[in-house]
Symmetry: C2
Subunit: 434 residues, 2 copies
């Protein structure tokens, strides 16, 4: 393979934790990169907001510039690691229009405005790659875009937020309550000072939108993604999950479905805490790992596991994309463009069908179960399992339904709350992967 070609000029936008590692890897792996690409790559500049911020000594100060536009205009490949919507969007569009390939890790921007960017890249005939935007080093974007391109995906279940996965893990292992587990995650640097982007599911929802669009070749507006975080979960919820043979996980779920009330076929996309059976591969994904479980018609069940965050894992995903787009520059052509040819509608969240587990405090006397069971039956919700644990004055009743609609469960829960023997409906959780 010849490497006598002129170097490919790479511009880096942003120089935070990931950017620093990308710069380091481009430098350290230059020989391997040249062999794999067929031409050397040269980092021609790093756009930053201020030249005076403190930086890692790995970063060559001579490469820094505050003029991102001028930098883009002299690059073949632009790596965007600034995050946020603007100026990232404007700069990516500038790069694409200029004919440069783009690699980005910007999940917020892709969830917000991915289709416009994909269309611009396809129109310009350039690559827009974004493996690092979903689940860090886990190569799920490539798997959906390429490996499963001849298959039909039915469902994607992802643990795509390492912070909440760590928090739930600690709650399960140590019986911690949520606040304490979040504080521990903050101390270890796994959670931000303001943890709401993780805890309330915003981060996972952005990734769910990107995954769903990829898996189902359909536009998925972020606003259409159902979102329920882990903020309301108690150590009791986590303990009861264990007692019933489940592990509580925050899941991003995207699936083909049919809305029974309208007959419309489409996709359901949402983020919510879910009970995952202990024997399911996702149940064992611990700590700050990410994993994406895919069910497809021909391949069957697949799972991808790895580090979802952190400077070097994310940088590895960025470099993998860099090699792909650089190879296309050298050999001609470009990678697959995103396409929303399937045009499936995004269904309302309450069209979901699943198993549900309803926990409630009830009066501790004979006949209560019969009354509760009657309410389930009236709403057409059939029961798979019931478990009763006596407490002081009350009993604790855990009812697991067969697969049913979320609407039917909501109506059931409303009716249960009106029964005098039901003191309180404590929680309603979906079971996924059963």
């Amino acid at each position: 393979m010849s490497t006598s070609r002129a170097p490919l000029r790479v511009a880096l936008l942003g120089c935070g934790v990931v950017g620093t590692q990308v710069a380091r890897l481009i430098h350290e792996q230059s020989g391997d990169l040249a062999a794999r690409i067929g031409a050397p790559v040269e980092l021609v500049g790093i756009a930053v907001r201020s030249l005076h911020a403190e930086r890692d000594p790995l970063v060559d100060p001579a490469l820094l510039t505050t003029d991102a536009r001028a930098l883009i205009d002299r690059a073949d490949i632009v790596i965007e690691l600034m995050g946020g919507i603007e100026p990232a969007r404007e700069l990516i569009l500038r790069a694409v229009t200029h004919g440069s390939a783009v690699v980005t890790a910007n999940k917020a921007l892709l969830a917000e405005d991915g289709p416009a960017l994909y269309t611009a890249a396809a129109a310009a005939g350039v690559d827009l790659y974004y493996e690092a935007a979903v689940a860090g080093a886990v190569p799920v974007v490539r798997a959906l875009r390429e490996s499963l391109a001849g298959d039909r995906v039915r469902r994607v279940l992802g643990i795509v937020n390492g912070t909440t996965n760590y928090v739930l893990d600690r709650m399960a292992a140590e019986g911690l309550d949520l606040d304490r587990a979040v504080k521990e995650a903050q101390t270890l640097g796994y959670a931000e000072a303001d943890p709401s982007a993780d805890v309330d599911g915003y981060d996972a929802a952005a990734k769910a939108a990107i995954l769903a669009a990829l898996a189902f070749h359909t536009r998925v507006p972020l606003a259409a993604v159902g979102r329920e975080g882990i903020g309301a979960l108690t150590s009791d919820d986590v303990a009861w999950a264990g007692r019933t043979g489940h592990v509580l996980k925050l899941l991003a779920v995207a699936e083909r479905a049919r809305d029974e009330s309208t007959g419309i076929e489409g996709v359901l996309v949402g983020v919510h805490p879910a009970l995952v059976p202990e024997q399911h591969p996702l149940a064992r994904v611990g700590g700050s790992f990410n994993a994406v479980f895919v069910e497809s018609e021909a391949a069957g069940e697949l799972m991808f596991l790895g580090r979802g965050a952190g400077g070097t894992p994310t940088a590895s995903a960025v470099l993998g994309d860099l090699v792909s787009v650089a190879r296309h520059r050298v050999r001609g052509g470009h990678g697959p463009s995103e396409s929303s040819y399937a045009g499936l509608p995004v269904l309302p969240a309450d069209a979901a069908r699943a198993q549900f587990q309803v926990r409630m405090d009830v009066a501790d006397r004979p006949g209560v179960l019969a009354q509760v069971a009657a309410v389930f039956a009236e709403h057409g919700v059939s029961i798979e399992a019931v478990r009763q644990a006596p407490a002081r004055e009350t009993a604790h009743l855990v009812v697991t339904s067969h697969v049913t609609s979320q609407r039917a469960v909501r109506a059931t829960v409303d009716a249960l709350a009106r029964l005098t023997v039901v003191h309180r409906v404590v929680s309603v959780l979906r079971v996924e992967g059963a």
Copy 2:
């Protein structure tokens, strides 16, 4: 995306379980495939050995031909699913020389003669894709070839043979002996009538050679792959694995290493039964699933899990490759070529360093442990854990070493066998993933 282009002509060589499913998927998914590729694909023929064999009714008899060469000459893309070395090699070379892209699932051929085929494809400027040759639907070839192209792989541990994984699973779950578990696998269609390709590790060794070549950009002759199957494992080995917190798995291992006796840096490639700690993700890969665990410098730990065999999962991998090579036809260019630019030597198997677990029957009297420990010390093998279980006349002693060289362990075991207090060294197994 325009689909008004002329169809891409696809030739299928072989019409067994996988070929039948590939033909079905090309037919059933034709609309999706055209949208994803940018042009329709047309199956122009299926080469078979005899026109009179019994076939699935899915297969259109009008497509069948016994003239593989003529079929190849009128195709843009050739999918080789015949298996075996010849005539598959000759036909793939013919296709490549003719300028056709090739997709193959032929692990035996790639392990035997991959480099010659890769070189021919690169010289002709055509794609040669083979995702289905390793671990079926698990997209590990693409991950190593593309996702990790900007990273440096340290080690690959794979459960790449579903038959032996099923057999070991059943031995662990039910205490079955090997023969019985193999018979059960045969009854269920997971094992062949002659199970030696699986049981003796030949199938896994071919996949190990392909994985190692990909991961380390180096030629790995099949003859250089260390190979130890599961044929000698007893239900006792499996039970003791469990007692010491491990699961026994047949692993394909490929890693960067340094031969301490020569100072040579290279790669170690082998297949052997190994004790995997219960908490390691590979330990939970059950039944007929395949999984590949990758340790790389930047990405850290990654795992890919899925169906390693079966008509439809393998066909899914073939179709994913078909879409990739077809896209390249439509948009110009081609995918990454294999390259052995790194040129690392393959080290002798006994250069391996790992933890080892040695089980032995010893005399049940004081001082035995001291004598045994002295032998380990004399050979420079330090001990991590010892466990003793009294039996009738003898005691059972399980010694787990720290990381040490296989040579030192061999010498230790030879010396142990000469001790009069050691009645028998029962087994010596590597611990992987600790």
